[in-house]
Amino acid sequence: MHPSNETMRTSDPDSVLDRVRRALGRTKTPRTIPAPPLIDERVVRLVHTDLGLGELFARRAGEMNMRVTSCYVEECVPKLIESFVEMRIKRVMLSESSLLRKLEILPQLRSAGFDAKTWDEITLDESYDFDASVTDAWRAVAETGSLVLRASPGHGRAMSLVPVVHVAIVEPRNFVADLLDLFELIAREGVGSATTLISGPSKTADIEMNVVTGVHGPNVVNAFVLQ
């Protein structure tokens, strides 16, 4: 589908780009322009050290009502199962990830009696019938307590959106200090087909400013931070 106005350098004197040029007092788009304003780190950066990023992440994420569970590798899955039992979770979907495979989450969940499936075993529509998801995280931002997830064939967008409970396993090497570091990294490594920053459970305050969580996305977001 390519309507005629998709051509960029159109000769139509009333095309939007022509109007923009006219408004800027020119007839042709310049080939080079002055550099954009310098990003002064002293002004923008809020986290100045790479020490204690895990603690800072836990504090900031906690302020946004994200649960943060700090654990050693060997206690990760038992703690996960414990929390799922507590929340009466039955059906769990898992992203395809080397970290999750290494932690042997799928077989352990199955042997604990959960109906656990990986993302490639289910359809998008079926994902609506799952109670919880477990994924890895591409990065986590200490400054804002945000998980950064990147869509991929093994990690669907619906995974961190559709179920009521979302668990993300974060490795210490995933932390970046500041949003400045994150966007520098994204500028270098790309967005993929979609990248999402998650800073707590889905919420609304539209009714008399009352905060209600779990409105369209998960009601519980739990970051398991490995030691």
């Binding site: 589908m1 106005n5 998709e6 960029m8 009333d14 095309s15 939007v16 780009l17 109007r19 923009v20 006219r22 408004a23 800027l24 322009i33 954009p36 304003p37 990003i39 002293r42 002004v43 923008v44 809020l46 302020e63 946004m64 993302w119 490639d120 998008l124 529509d125 307590g145 945000s146 869509a151 064939p153 669907g156 967008r157 959106l161 500041d178 949003l179 400045l180 520098e184 967005v191 993929g192 087909s193 979609a194 999402t196 920053l197 800073s199 707590g200 459970p201 889905s202 919420k203 609304t204 539209d206 009714i207 008399e208 400013m209 009352n210 209600v212 409105v215 369209h216 996305g217 998960p218």
Partner: protein, 471 residues
């Protein structure tokens, strides 16, 4: 496309605002919400080490993008196409709606989920698509309430700020045919259950956009509920409708903008979701759109770009200026009679849609400057409102009587004799009407002034007399 005529509303600002100020429930709803949001904003801004410098930088980045908008738009459009998206430029609302309906019909989309976007309100997109026979549902909770109530949003960020929970509960009870329950959680969950089925079965998703990143061709959209993420996840087709002024040059600029946007809007350090996207799903992916279309709309923005008001296009629609505005707090958003209310709305509405139909808006301000103080991109709103008032006078849009009175006044004030005579007459008249040191009622032409306040009796000597007597 089915031709749709939108109702032409004869809008009367003074009666609308007078009605609003005597509506106690409205004043309480808007007053409480704006107070809480601006307090939250103040507290969150304090967590920035260099808030002032950061606002300056954010303003400079947006200004730079506007000053070279042709360059960045071309770069951005080229990159979106490289990412596999389709880009269209729409001159106005009619063109954008036509493109939207064309995309819907070519992709055989019937069920549309739409997330919150001010530009879609600007062109009445949902109503036009509904009139064309599409099943369009607003999925942001506030916008959903607006849609089923056939109402209009009254705030840029919190659209149902004018409704209390009882009104919303009554509406839901009638719409879903369920018993009345005014618990916010219960109401939100009722909407959730209803909308979840809509998400699951949608053909097409529609979003707006907060920032367009020129260097990579991606959109950045923020939200709290997750309904926008649904638009990016389940439907086969995704269409984003965004104003051409939303460009930022680089990915790194988002770190500046995002540190300011949510803090200014709702006093959050960060919105719950920040979505970056710009094309169809990648090979092998099971969700995300198969097609991505982006409509970049002008609709009056190039008029502003070419004028002395260019910097008003920096606006990132945070709504901070609404929350601190003493006028907005008293009259609410609907009184403005425009899609964009509050100080920024009073400014950009006449600029985008013409001063003639909106000359009441630049007057709807006390020029106190609170809006300028909170603006995250430092738009000098009071200065521009004064310039617009000047334009009204220059173009003789104010009434004949007003112009005659001011001309007469200027003529009298230029003559020392007339000035002194008028002052003396005034003193005499006010003295005659005084009771116990106060004037409680003025004659009909000025009665409005004394309806709600008294005037102290002027001193016995005018300034001129005192000056002659060496004070």
């Amino acid at each position: 496309m089915v031709p749709v005529t939108l109702p032409q509303i004869q809008f009367d600002f003074s009666s609308a605002s007078a009605r609003a100020t005597s509506d106690a429930a409205l004043k309480r709803s808007v007053g409480d919400a704006t107070e809480r949001q601006s307090t939250a904003r103040r507290l969150q801004m304090a967590s920035l080490d260099h808030a002032e410098a950061l606002r300056t930088l954010a303003g400079d980045i947006k200004q730079h993008a506007l000053d070279h908008l042709d360059y960045y738009l071309e770069q951005f459009a080229e990159n979106v196409r490289k990412n596999g998206g389709h880009v269209y430029f729409a001159g106005d609302g009619a063109e954008a709606s036509r493109l939207m309906l064309e995309i819907a019909s070519k992709t055989r989309s019937k069920r549309v989920i739409k997330s919150k976007s001010m530009v879609s309100e600007e062109i009445h997109l949902a109503q036009l698509m509904e009139a064309a026979g599409l099943d369009v549902v607003e999925t942001d909770l506030g916008e959903f309430i607006i849609q089923i109530n056939h109402d209009r949003p009254s705030h840029l960020v919190t659209p149902v700020i004018h409704m209390n929970r009882a009104a919303i509960a009554k509406l839901f009870s009638a719409y879903f045919k369920t018993p009345y329950d005014d618990d916010p959680k219960a109401l939100a969950m009722q909407a959730r259950d209803y909308l979840r089925e809509k998400f699951r079965n949608a053909d097409m998703g529609i979003t707006g956009g907060n920032f367009l990143v020129a260097e990579t061709g991606h959109l950045c959209c923020v939200e709290n509920e997750g309904n926008q993420r649904q638009s990016l996840t389940t439907p086969r087709v995704l269409v984003s409708l965004v104003g051409i002024e939303k460009i930022v040059p680089r990915m790194i600029d988002l770190s500046v903008m995002l540190k300011l946007l949510a803090r200014s809007a709702t006093g959050q350090p960060m919105t719950i979701y920040t979505n970056l996207f710009g094309g169809p799903r990648a090979a092998g992916e099971k969700d995300g759109p198969e097609e991505f279309h982006l409509i970049l709309i002008d609709n009056g923005r190039t008029e502003i770009l070419g004028s002395e008001y260019r910097e008003t296009l920096r606006c990132i629609r945070c709504g901070a200026c609404l929350n601190v505005c003493p006028v907005y707090r008293k009259i609410g958003g609907h009184s403005y009679g425009s899609v964009y209310p509050g100080p920024i709305g009073a400014l950009i509405t006449p600029l985008m849609q013409g001063l003639d139909a909106h000359q009441h808006l630049p007057q709807a301000s006390s020029l106190c400057g609170a809006c300028y103080e909170v603006c995250p991109v430092k738009i000098d709103i009071p200065k521009h409102l004064i310039s617009l008032r000047r334009d009204i006078v220059d173009r003789k849009l104010n009434g004949f009587a007003e112009r005659a009175v001011y001309r007469l006044w200027a003529w009298a004030m230029k003559s020392p004799f007339l000035y002194c005579t008028i002052t003396r007459l005034q003193k005499w008249e006010l003295g005659r009407r005084a009771e116990a040191g106060w004037v409680k009622q003025l004659p009909k032409v000025a009665a409005g002034w004394t309806n709600i306040r008294d005037i102290p009796v002027p001193s016995s000597k005018t300034f001129h007399q005192r000056w002659k007597d060496r004070l």
